[in-house]
Symmetry: C2
Subunit: 663 residues, 2 copies
């Protein structure tokens, strides 16, 4: 055994070694997985849970629990081992034995919703730490509304070198320092090893100085010295700044011949090394068998958490804020919103304003924010362009966690991940804005919104060449298609002020599917001048204008191009061609309708699709006898009207395409 | 006039004020644009160009020129104004007058290729500074090969607060410090203003401490004090570390009533304020008219650059490395590679190995790297998984710029942007690897590769649920579709070792289109056992197996699913159904073939598409009488074979789908 290795002793030492043993055995059984991180950070985790973390496995969603985020998600066996030993009902030993196998909760990386006690999905590096920033901010915002008696918990993160190398970590660190999130404590697995070898191959950053530069409290400890770890956590909790604790660890700690090397990172140790580890750790137990003392120590953590939770329940029972508190954690009042939006829509249809849908979004948000008290708006430094801040919203800051508008800064990626964290924490409905083209900057966070099924809304304005002079770097062309390709994301592209209101009604009340609104910079007329209480966007696509008699052609468009389709239909009508116009603001919702509805809307006549974007993704709405009017390459810099002409996205072009299809 | 405002005097002051005047007048004429940055940084730019920058407008691509990158690309008028005054032939005053208008080179953000003297496309924040890191590294790598006499230049960047808030900046800074890129000098427009208002709304990071933490040399100057700016640049050039110079500036400097506020950031100043600015700057000239003294001063910069370039030409003429130097900057030897790949393919078809295409990529790269001397490999810390490092490659480091393999670290985004910078600098053919799912992390950089048309290759392995146990966070489902949606990007998904070699032949010799290879983790049999000298992948799709007589059905597949299609064809044949198999490794190249070829390949029989991904993007290869076997949602964590069974991507499912289509 390497002279550097100390064997942890006592019950807490057994707690740590139990993590190591379950990890190496589960990875070996799966013949795949990552033993290095859980074995290296077992001591830190044992101390954190044993002495600090308040969670109750019998009530995994208890709102005032501490949050634990395993940002280094490849070390998933750490959390599976712990949750098994804590006694989570859905994490029996069979789950651990079948790590990474089909039909089990013990996925390769921790998946939110697969098992209790997993606060967020991690694996894509840097997401966990940034999601945790959102959680820690939500804790303070919820605290500002309900006080210390009901909201008073910490957010702990285990992060690895990868998390700190990813760019998103800069955005996270900057935010957390700026918001003075003193209850956020990041335990960095400072083991000097990445997959390719030593961290010295690729980085020279002094992480402690870097965190300090962003207003963090910083410490360094021996990550195998339990008392030092505990002392550091105590100090971190006492500081008003977010805390980084650099835990100097040995990756794969306990495996005498492989520890300290990247060989332990992402592959089973092998039978021989596992046997040697058992000897080194003085762990005579068979695979997946645990000594009673270790199990008892872990169960004591659960018992402490349960008692804390029960005391909290007693406080809630006598709180005069109990009803509001519970409401904040429940589904938003969809009926109230439906009523408010219906009233608003009636007025819109009467007024028929010509506004950009980004402006229409602001108008709809005024209704949403007035009706649902827990929305949290924001923008990645484009507030005046995204129109995300409605009247009366106040900025969230370290001096005012009671605010409800977040200046996310020029940090789209962290905005997405923080919104995920806010949604996961509970108590709030987050939405945030940027330009649609910068959806690329936050795409990994959007994907986690979708994978976890979170109620998060992305407000993405300047959604086509219609933004004009800013040119190709700012003009989305492929983004709508690329977002529609993502499972479980509703992409809305409303055509006017009414559709925008309807899209917002759906987005604000969705529970398991995130929404993304693609909104125009340019003004658009109200096309839905006839009021309907029905939310037509909810069906994804609908006939905006039917023909008198059998259709000769069906024009299908989205967003700013619906106006063009209507103009084309007028022009065709003048020439005796009967063209129906279908508005298709949400392909995903349309795909979810029954076949009868879909075929009624699409009709049997030839079809022309119109969207100022690439055609990809339109196949389900078109078919063999069809044409598409849109973009085939990148945009250009010029006034919007000239670009529409230049790229041939005009009523004339649509009418011509329609005629070419009619036999 | 604000008491804070000093009026720059002398010729260099006129140089700066000329930038201000052209900027405010051009933005006003366009009625759109961003005057704040060019006016705020005009003094810094004037000093930089006047006293340091070596460029020759008469030879814009002179290889040893200094590189200037306007990372804050919204300030595009800065570079248009300068390039006009320097005398770039393609930047006459008419271009400036028609800023942001259709058909002019003066796009809203600087677009590489639109006009000379624009070293890279900027606008998406943080890309410029990171691309510049790639340029500065390329300079050192080129210097290591050809010496100080031929390669000896600096890379200067103007970056704004947005660039430094974006996460990618962390990756860039970490890299530059690690590689000790002492010739990289970043001039930070430290004006304390973003679009939403004060930077204090969203950030508290001490940027100077942050850069210092990553090994940078850091200074701060008054950005309107010419001598101080010059002294700082002198000091920065003398230091062996990359340098940050925090230039304390006033945004919109010179506009007496609006300067120092976000009102100057992204909107015209207005006629009244422009008149006031003329007075304040003592600038009596009409819009777009320049005093001779200013123009002469700028032309002197050009003359100095020309003399420097001519001295360099003389050195090149007598250098014994001239031939190699010129070759390094020319197109790679496609004929040599074609020959080498043909020989290699013949052996492959004979050997018929069963290897993952990620391994096949390594094998092909051995041929590519042996034939083309200027490839620069790398991986975002997944070298052993991406198989990107071939035998004999040596890591690039601050101690060995002569290496040819880059450990990019866990920094996919900066890897992409740095590869763009390496390609833009010239002298090298960069390729870099990560998992396909993490294409999302570098998508903004991939988009710039495509928009600029750069010869950059992305090696993206673990390309489907076939990666198995790592689970849904690591399994690409929508990524192939989302990448195919991007204009001017060739997405290759080769089916076997032969197709992988052919894809690499195309990628390594492409000049104006970046390539992305989607490669399997799992082993795949050699399907192309019959050797052809022809590169079949070049046609995008081809008939891998034709039927004897008229087809009953055509099975079209890519990558790892071609094997499944072949198995399905066998099963169908046993039942008397004639199924052709089409391999479609590159949809983009197939779309570029003539209609005859495409219809011959696709045939008139019903079609079944097979790809372990979402269907989106397949429309062009399928049609109304078709079926698709693939994914409709996120993946799961389990061994690959079980996942293929679970998600129904099997030969049986393909055969069943085929039969259902046959009348």
């Amino acid at each position: 055994m390497n002279a550097q290795t100390k064997i942890s002793t006592g019950a807490e030492g057994l707690m740590a070694n139990a993590i190591r043993a379950l990890t190496m055995d589960a990875v070996q059984a799966a013949n795949s997985g990552h033993p290095g991180m859980p074995m290296g950070m077992a001591d830190v985790a044992a101390v954190l849970y044993n002495r600090f973390l308040n969670i109750d496995p019998s009530q995994p969603k208890w709102p005032d629990r501490d949050r634990f985020v395993l940002s280094a998600g490849h070390g998933s066996m750490l959390i599976y081992a712990i949750n098994h030993m804590l006694g989570y009902a859905d994490m029996d030993i069979d789950q651990v034995r079948n790590f990474r196998q089909h039909g089990y909760r013990t996925a390769g990386h921790p998946e939110y919703g697969h098992a209790d006690g997993i606060e967020t999905t991690t694996g894509p590096l840097g997401q966990g730490i940034t999601t945790a920033v959102g959680m820690a901010l939500a804790e303070r915002m919820h605290n500002a509304r309900f006080g210390d008696g009901l909201v008073n918990h910490h957010t702990y993160v285990i992060a690895g070198d990868g998390c700190l190398m990813e760019g998103i970590s800069h955005e996270a660190i900057d935010m957390a320092g700026h918001w003075a999130l003193g209850r956020l404590i990041v335990l960095w697995d400072d083991n000097k090893i990445t997959i390719d070898g030593s961290t010295g191959l690729s980085t020279s950053t002094d992480q402690k100085a870097r965190f300090a530069a962003s207003g963090w409290h910083v410490q360094e400890v021996d990550g195998h010295d339990h008392e030092a770890i505990a002392a550091a956590i105590v100090t971190a909790r006492a500081d008003t700044r977010p805390s980084l604790i650099a835990c100097k660890t040995i990756i794969g700690y306990g495996a005498p011949n492989k520890q300290g090397t990247s060989a332990t990172h992402g592959a089973p140790l092998g039978d021989e090394e596992i046997a040697a580890t058992r000897t080194a750790l003085n762990w005579p137990h068979a695979p997946f068998e645990l000594p009673a003392e270790a199990l008892e120590a872990w169960r004591a953590v659960a018992a402490r958490g349960k008692a804390t939770r029960e005391a909290w329940e007693a406080r809630l029972a006598t709180s005069d804020k109990a009803a509001d508190f519970n409401a904040s954690l429940s589904a938003p009042d969809a009926d109230a919103l439906t009523g408010a939006i219906a009233t608003y829509k009636a007025q819109l249809s009467a007024d028929a304003p010509k506004v950009a849908t980004r402006k229409a979004s602001e108008m709809a948000l005024a209704v949403v924010n007035a009706t649902l008290p827990n929305t949290i708006g924001g923008s990645a430094d484009l507030t005046g362009s995204n129109n995300t801040r409605t009247k009366g919203m106040e900025p969230v800051s370290k001096d005012n966690y009671g605010g409800n508008y977040i200046h996310y800064g020029i940090r789209e990626h962290a905005m997405g991940a923080a919104m995920n964290g806010i949604a996961l924490h509970g108590g709030f409905l987050p939405y945030g804005g940027t330009f649609l083209v910068f959806s690329d900057y936050c795409r990994p966070a959007i994907r986690l919104s979708a994978l976890m099924g979170l109620p998060v809304t992305y407000v993405m304005t300047h959604d086509s060449i219609g933004l004009g002079e800013d040119g190709p770097t700012h003009q989305p062309v492929e983004h709508i298609a690329s977002l529609r390709a993502m499972p479980n994301l509703n992409v809305f592209r409303p055509a006017d002020v009414v559709e925008t209101a309807e899209a917002w009604e759906i987005a604000a009340t969705a529970r398991t599917t995130p929404s993304l609104l693609a909104l125009s910079r340019q003004g658009l007329p109200t096309l839905r001048t006839e009021h309907t209480a029905e939310n037509k966007v909810a069906k994804g696509a609908y006939v905006l204008r039917e023909t008198d008699g059998a259709r000769d052609v069906t024009l299908i468009a989205t967003g700013s191009e619906v106006e063009i389709a209507v103009q084309a239909a007028d022009a065709l009508a003048a020439g005796g061609v009967k063209a129906a116009v279908v508005s298709a603001p949400c392909f995903e919702l349309f795909a979810a309708q029954d076949a009868d509805y879909r075929s009624t809307v699409l009709g049997s006549a030839p079809r022309v699709g119109v969207e100022a974007a690439v055609e990809q993704g339109w196949a389900a709405l078109l078919g063999d006898n069809s044409a598409f009017v849109g973009m085939t390459g990148f945009g250009a810099s010029a006034p919007a009207d000239e670009l529409y002409e230049h790229f041939g996205i005009t009523a004339e072009a649509v009418a011509k395409a329609a005629k070419s299809l009619i036999k």
